[in-house]
Symmetry: C2
Subunit: 135 residues, 2 copies
């Protein structure tokens, strides 16, 4: 199987497959005499694993660890769970940050006429016009 077929079979772009190989996330693929990369069923499983992990937002570093655990039959599930929990906490932290920003902006927007007049609490806030607008 060539890289293009592997790409469409796993949903990982050919570009990213080469990239993952280059950074050592996956083992270098076999090569034909002409230098084409060749992929077997095992490689496809690995690539699919990586794609699913990325879909869940894991970082490359985390995926590296998950792959190692996956390939280790003596792994402890606690190790996997720890990585997943850490990732969940990271995502929740990001959500809290986003939520804060959304809250602030929605509050400011609620007091912005949104018409032709130039008066705008959003800009006032950004300009440093104090942290409160009405309360």
């Amino acid at each position: 199987m060539n890289i293009g077929e592997a790409a469409s079979a796993t949903g990982v772009s050919a570009k990213m497959i080469r990239h993952y190989e280059e950074i050592g996330l996956i083992r270098p693929a076999g090569r034909t005499g002409a230098g084409y990369r060749v992929y077997g069923p095992k490689d496809l499983s690995t690539l699919s694993f990586v794609r699913r992990a990325r879909d869940l937002g894991f970082s490359i570093a985390q995926i590296r660890d998950l792959l190692a655990l996956w390939q280790d039959r003596d792994r402890a599930s606690a190790d996997v769970k720890r990585i997943a929990s850490a990732h969940v906490e990271e995502m929740k932290a990001k959500m809290r940050l986003l939520e804060e920003m959304v809250q602030t902006l929605e509050h400011l927007s609620a007091h912005c006429h949104g018409d032709d007049r130039p008066d705008c609490p959003i800009l006032e806030q950004l300009a440093g016009g104090g942290s409160e607008c009405c309360a």
Copy 2:
């Protein structure tokens, strides 16, 4: 005022001030005879504006527009509100994505023993063991 003082006064790093100047987000600062950048009160206001906008998660492109509106006395507040609303929607979309990923992972984690045994639904899911685990 030198760049270092401007940086600590506004919370924008010297590095970023130079960067913002280079990409044309802010006007090139004045220079001393020796080539040092010089900042006045107006420049500090602009930098603070940029920092507050970044704190609210606006992209450089959005900040560029907000800055233009801020400096335009004839602006319509509707324009500002539109940018803010677009940004809020982007953030909410990101939150939904994160929430989905968190849901999935928490669900899988809940069914992972997290002990010394190798059995782990998280890895099974990543390996392509089907999208459901128990329901």
